[in-house]
Amino acid sequence: MSLLSNTSILLGKELRTEFRSRELLTTTAVFILVVLIMFSFAINPTAEESRAFGPGLLWLAILFAASLMLQPCFLREQNNDTLSSLRLAVSDPFAIFLAKLVANTLFLLLTELLMLPLFAVFYNIPVLPQLHYLLLILFLGSLGVSTVGTALSAISAQARMRELLLPLLLLPILTPILVVSAIVTVKLLDRDPVVEWKGIGFLAVFDVVFLTALWLFGEYLLEE
């Protein structure tokens, strides 16, 4: 199907561009690290508090990092107006969005995985026992962040003050992800771990809702 083949070709381009410079990955990873450290300075948690607050702070750090990482997404395409050549070349404009949101999800997940060991050390939370569930939650949460973030990045790229605007638009809309992911992760990493399938299901619903909305309305974001 041409949507899938176009998407995979564009995904290849997104990945190749990023892995060549690794700018986004390194800056995002370092940013999450900095935020996590600063939280410790600000709150100075005890061991029990670390366990209770840590996961929430991790998700907060991920959201802040994402709101910066997603800015170049469509801004880059304004150099040399490559967005126009993409629009001319693809048969379904959704391919452009799909490729970018898959790439962004991958980048977010990679930085989260890089940060996980450091998070486990700084906050004294063992993550290995529940790693598979943790990965599932990170994946569903990051997918939601990327989907909404990619759409809003296309919008803010066309407005003034775009660097401040994207976080301002993104963070309120992502409240459900922050709230649910934090709860689910806290319970998962508790001394008596619990897998909250209700929360995981909620994240999946969030992802489906916004993927569908992007599919329906994305092409209008690219109109001239």
Partner: protein
């Protein structure tokens, strides 16, 4: 002109009547006394605000579909009016909470969700202010508005779940607390009054937006020549 004045007069009269009813007709609530009467104002505003945002959502969908500027004028008007009502909710909540619980804010589920709702529509208006070209502004803000409205049930659902994890005092009684018949009548009358006010305000704001768009058009045409 006279239709506008009539609608405005009706709206104001209904609101005054509702206030009168809530103070003099509705009975005193058992535990809270007179303080509880803020509830009529608070909950009716919440309802009117939500409905204004629904109007904005429909206007957003219609604009994306039909591209008529008047739909965009309805959208911005409804968003601003919705935001005004929501601000009332956010102010009356703490006004009730302080004497009742001794603290201004308790991260109560409904109030917190309302706060996020407020942030969403502040973002909507902020986005609009940062796009100059009217057609672009209308299209991009409509899509953001659609995304924001789709988020609303998710926000309410997630925060409600959040609060079941860490129960806190609930402002003005939980969902289970029923309304005594006279109270219910006064409440629904307040809701009606707020809705009429909402319609009046949206219409006035729409007419303002219509005029200012036409002026903007003339300005741009003048600048171009």
């Amino acid at each position: 002109m006279s239709k506008r004045i009539l609608l405005g007069a009706v709206a104001v009269l209904l609101v005054i009547a509702a206030a009168f009813a809530s103070f003099y007709i509705a009975p005193l609530e058992r535990t809270m006394g007179a303080l509880q009467k803020i509830f009529y104002f608070h909950a009716a505003s919440a309802w009117a605000g939500m409905d204004a945002f629904f109007v904005c959502f429909i206007a957003n969908l219609l604009y994306v579909w039909k591209r008529k500027p008047s739909y965009d004028w309805v959208a911005v008007s409804a968003a601003e009016v919705g935001l005004a009502f929501t601000t009332v909710v956010l102010i009356t909540g703490p006004i009730w909470a302080k004497p009742a619980w001794g603290i201004w804010w308790t991260w109560d589920a409904r109030l917190t969700s309302t706060f996020v709702l407020w942030l969403l529509y502040v973002s909507y208006l902020l986005l609009r202010s940062l796009i100059e070209e009217p057609d672009r502004r209308a299209l991009l803000s409509s899509i953001f508005g659609i995304f924001a409205y789709l988020d609303v049930p998710l926000v309410y659902g997630s925060i409600r779940w959040w609060r079941t994890q860490h129960p806190q005092p609930v402002i003005m009684g939980g969902p289970g607390s029923g309304l005594e018949p006279t109270m219910a009548k006064v409440f629904f009358f307040s809701v009606l009054a707020m809705h009429v006010l909402m319609i009046f305000l949206i219409r006035e704001r729409y007419l303002l937006e219509q005029t200012s768009s036409e002026v903007e058009l003339l300005q741009r045409e003048a600048e171009a020549t």
